[in-house]
Amino acid sequence: MEPVLKIEDLTKVFSRGGQPDFTAVSHVNFELMPGECLGIIGESGSGKTTVVNMITRLLDASGGRITLDGEDITTAKGSRLRKAYRKMQMVFQTPTESFDPRRTLGDGIGESLRNHGMSAADAKKEVSRLLEMCGLPADFAGRYPHQVSGGQCQRAAIARALAIRPKLLICDEATSSLDVTIQKEVLELLGRLRRQAGADLSILFICHDIALVQEFCDRVLVLYHGEIVEQGIPDEVIRNPRNEYTKSLIDSVL
């Protein structure tokens, strides 16, 4: 079976005027299979967001290769990149800030649909369906981001990410800014959507909470100073960590 996402030797070096270059991500390799949920954990500053931004091409990679669904997108631009965005979508850490304050949630959710050729009327209907799928009333389409709670906004963001039925969903700390009970609800929603989609949806789940990853992911990578120091099935990694850093990460939670 072909992986949905294949990362080879991915590296990011930030050159900062004057100071020595800083390697934020160094030779990262991994694959994500259809239907799989892969977690990436690591402390703040370990390079998780940098990896994600390179995959979504919001940031240029300094080296390595990114293959999405068999196509090399490492340097994709313009229309080729827009085509890649039909297959990969992202849920951001800050739900409210991920929607344009001057546009309604419905407008944001339907944006990708309209951009990819759906008529405005059809997109509107689809937005209602998506909102209900994510546990929100359809009339939330007319609300502005500041008129809904963080948890509701994140549900809308998930609806937006799934609108064009991507194969890959990236969640960069999608639950970190929410309080614990809401976090659980959003995770339950993601779990349900994932079961419904089966092998059609793979998830890259970035998180710094090892307990959440254990609950939610099939496999986990541990990132430390931009390098992968450990990987495996969450339960096994937690029971039997081989790396010192992973140990301290687990100890700090338990």
Binding site: E111, S112, R160
Partner: protein, 283 residues
């Protein structure tokens, strides 16, 4: 302890609203007056009556007459058309031009950005009116050239604002989300960037209306703007400055007209800035 602060905020908001209504109404009246200036004049502003030249203000001629016996009130009213609308045109041009350059630089970055921003630095470091004088001098007089000259030196302020706002927006999650939604650059600029940066840009242009009116009148006064016999406040003052000691009303009436209009637009700009201030906003 919470209640008093809430009340203070409410009172402040209400007073801002009050000012907005007052100055907004005055500005609208001024604009309407300028639009219908042709029909509001008590006399023909170009009709000469030499027997009645340099007459002091009276019931028949509220602002007196000039050296050809033309009714000053009529001339001031007719002059509002040229003075106000050339100012608005000028402000519209520099707002659009500056914003376009700023958004382009902020979005695109790189070499073009550096070059354009250095150019804007040069303009900002230069005394504006002196440069406008030089440009207008080279282009020759006339209202069009005065507008071109002032536009050429006034866009950098807007480019700066638009650029810094665009740079800040570029990092927001919602612009990243828009890119992931497959929106093209043009779509992102028109749907997400422009609406979100328009607030500060428009406040700046409101505050600039007064300044630009002064500078246009200044250029006209120096003979580089509107040409007689067109009634324009700056050139009217310039024409008649020799009469300041013998018939001061002829020089002073267009001056007072400039003063009052500049005042109204500045106060309106200030009020709009206060109103747009998020601290005053109830969402």
């Amino acid at each position: 302890m919470k209640e008093p602060t809430v009340r203070v905020q409410k009172i402040r908001r209400d007073s801002v609203k009050m000012r907005l209504i007052i100055f907004g109404t005055l500005a609208v009246l001024l604009l309407l007056g300028a639009i219908f200036s042709k029909y509001l004049t008590p006399y023909d502003p170009y009709l000469q009556d030499l027997r009645n030249a340099k007459a002091a203000p009276s019931a028949a001629h509220l602002l007196g007459t000039d050296r050809y016996g033309r009714d000053m009130l009529s001339r001031v009213i007719v002059g509002s058309w040229t003075s106000i609308f050339s100012t608005l045109l000028l402000v519209a041009v520099i707002t659009a031009l500056g914003t376009a350059i700023g958004v382009f630089c902020g979005w695109h970055g790189g070499r073009t950005d550096t070059v354009l921003m250095r150019i804007s630095d040069i303009f900002l470091a230069f005394p504006g009116l002196v440069f406008a004088l030089a440009v207008a001098g080279v282009l020759g007089g006339g209202l069009h050239n005065a507008i071109i000259a002032l536009a050429a030196i006034s866009w950098p302020k807007y480019a700066r604002i638009a650029r810094s706002q665009t740079l800040a927006l570029k990092e927001t999650a919602y612009l990243k989300a828009a890119r992931l939604a497959g929106s093209s650059t043009v779509k992102i600029i028109f749907k997400h960037i422009l609406p979100n940066i328009m607030g500060p840009v428009l406040v700046t242009s409101m505050l600039d209306i007064g300044t630009m009116m002064m500078e246009l009148a200044g250029l006209s006064f120096l003979g580089l703007g509107a040409k007689p016999p067109i009634a324009e406040w700056g050139s009217m003052m310039s024409d008649t400055r020799s009469l300041l000691s013998t018939a001061p009303w002829v020089t002073l009436s267009p001056g007072i007209a400039v003063f009052v209009s500049v005042m109204i637009f500045n106060l309106l700009g200030d009020t709009i800035r206060d109103y747009a201030d998020p601290k005053n906003r109830r969402r």
